[in-house]
């Protein structure tokens, strides 16, 4: 299995974990407004990275084939949960080019829940796996 295939498998496994135990990862609301069975892949330019609670957000400008830009708001976990997944507050900044996978809002609006992102330095991060292995 190649690296890319593993990445997809890992992201799917993680997503199933989210769907099955939503209260365990995000404290304050259900995931049901996101279609966690769907995956949307976006490539674009970060316009803001908000390292905040109860959630962090990535704001992303995504050009389509015709050159028109759509703006997306991408929800992440809380800062604590993200740190447990390897994130740092300075991992993104405006102007960064990234590609990411999200579960879109069921409403059809241009927003979603992050599944996985490839950072400009090539690192691949999820949306916080929880607090690691149990002793």
């Amino acid at each position: 299995m190649g690296r890319a295939t593993w990445a997809v498998a890992c992201s799917l496994t993680f997503a199933m974990g989210l769907a099955g135990g939503n209260q365990r990862v995000l404290a304050h609301h259900s995931f049901a407004m996101f279609d966690t069975a769907k995956r949307v892949t976006l490539a674009g330019t970060v316009t803001a990275f908000e390292w905040t609670n109860p959630h962090a957000y990535i704001e992303l400008d995504v050009p389509d084939e015709g050159g028109r830009v759509k703006h997306w708001s991408v929800e992440l976990g809380s800062t604590s949960i993200l740190m447990q997944g390897g994130w740092k507050f300075k991992d993104l900044k405006p102007g960064d080019k990234v590609s990411l996978i999200l579960s879109p809002l069921r409403s059809g609006e241009t927003g979603g829940l992050l599944v996985q992102i490839t950072l400009p330095d090539g690192r691949v991060l999820g949306n916080g796996p929880g607090r690691g292995a149990q002793p």
Binding site: M33, T47, Q134, P135
Partner: protein, 248 residues
């Protein structure tokens, strides 16, 4: 805390015969940060929390509770989960604050008081040690109520009253102003803590609800700030949770 223990504490205070008798030796060391321990793969099943007991409501409350749960399930299936107080960043309060997702709690004992700070929403509760509990009705109801504690051998027993009726209880159960929460906190190993929680409510519950939370010690963990400053979730006119997106 049993009524008998409470009575004993009250009598000791009234008769001014000194502090409640302590087990010889220092109490167990609960100081530090504790993360939820749920067992699972690789975990010692003997250390995981035992399964919770049933919640049996009085008939006057059971149907409304069942209907609410059914409505929540139905809304979630539709992809329009119903809003809760937490969506608006309202604190969880007691007893739910003791178990929020994967977030740890920090226990800070000092003479006369044990303070508990949660990472999620930075909630704070104070447990006043070796004091008689106040009568229900003499304390203004709040999110955390009024807690008194004492050591019974190696077990910290905490009695909590006066949680606001608007603050939903375990599994979003309703409760009355007569709710009483008894916690029995005990180290099952040096680094695994169990908190057995008993919820009594003679108005709402047919019998006490009993469940146990387990925690593991996180010696090097630094609690992360959690201020609810960027809450883009809101509850729409139908009661469903929505996320605000930005135009740009």
């Amino acid at each position: 805390m049993s009524r008998r223990t409470l009575l004993a504490v009250s009598l000791c205070a009234a008769l001014d015969i000194g502090a409640v008798a302590q087990t010889p030796g220092a109490p167990p060391d609960l100081a530090g940060v504790w993360a939820p321990y749920r067992g699972g793969r690789g975990a010692d099943p003997a250390l995981a929390p035992p399964p919770p007991g049933p919640a049996v409501l009085k008939p006057a409350y059971a149907e409304a509770y069942r209907a609410r749960r059914a409505a929540e399930d139905e809304a979630t299936k539709r992809g329009e989960p119903l809003g809760t107080a937490a969506v608006l960043c309202t604190p969880y309060g007691m007893p739910r604050m003791m178990s929020v997702a994967l977030y740890p709690v920090e226990i800070l004992p000092r003479p006369g008081q044990i303070t508990v700070i949660t990472e999620a929403f930075s909630e704070v509760r104070r447990i006043y040690m070796d004091q008689p509990q106040l009568p229900i009705g003499d304390v203004a109801p709040g999110y955390y109520g009024h807690s008194v504690g004492l050591w019974e051998g190696d077990t910290l027993v905490v009695d909590t009253i006066a949680v606001k009726e608007s603050v939903l209880s375990y599994q979003n159960l309703p409760h009355s102003d007569q709710m009483r929460i008894t916690e029995r906190m005990r180290l099952v190993t040096k680094d695994i803590l169990h908190d057995q929680i008993t919820i009594e409510d003679p108005v709402v519950l047919e019998k006490p609800v009993v469940y146990t939370l387990a925690y593991r010690r996180m010696p090097d963990y630094k609690m992360v700030e959690f201020v609810c400053e960027n809450n883009r979730e809101y509850i729409d006119e139908k009661g469903a949770v929505r996320m605000r997106i930005r135009e740009k």
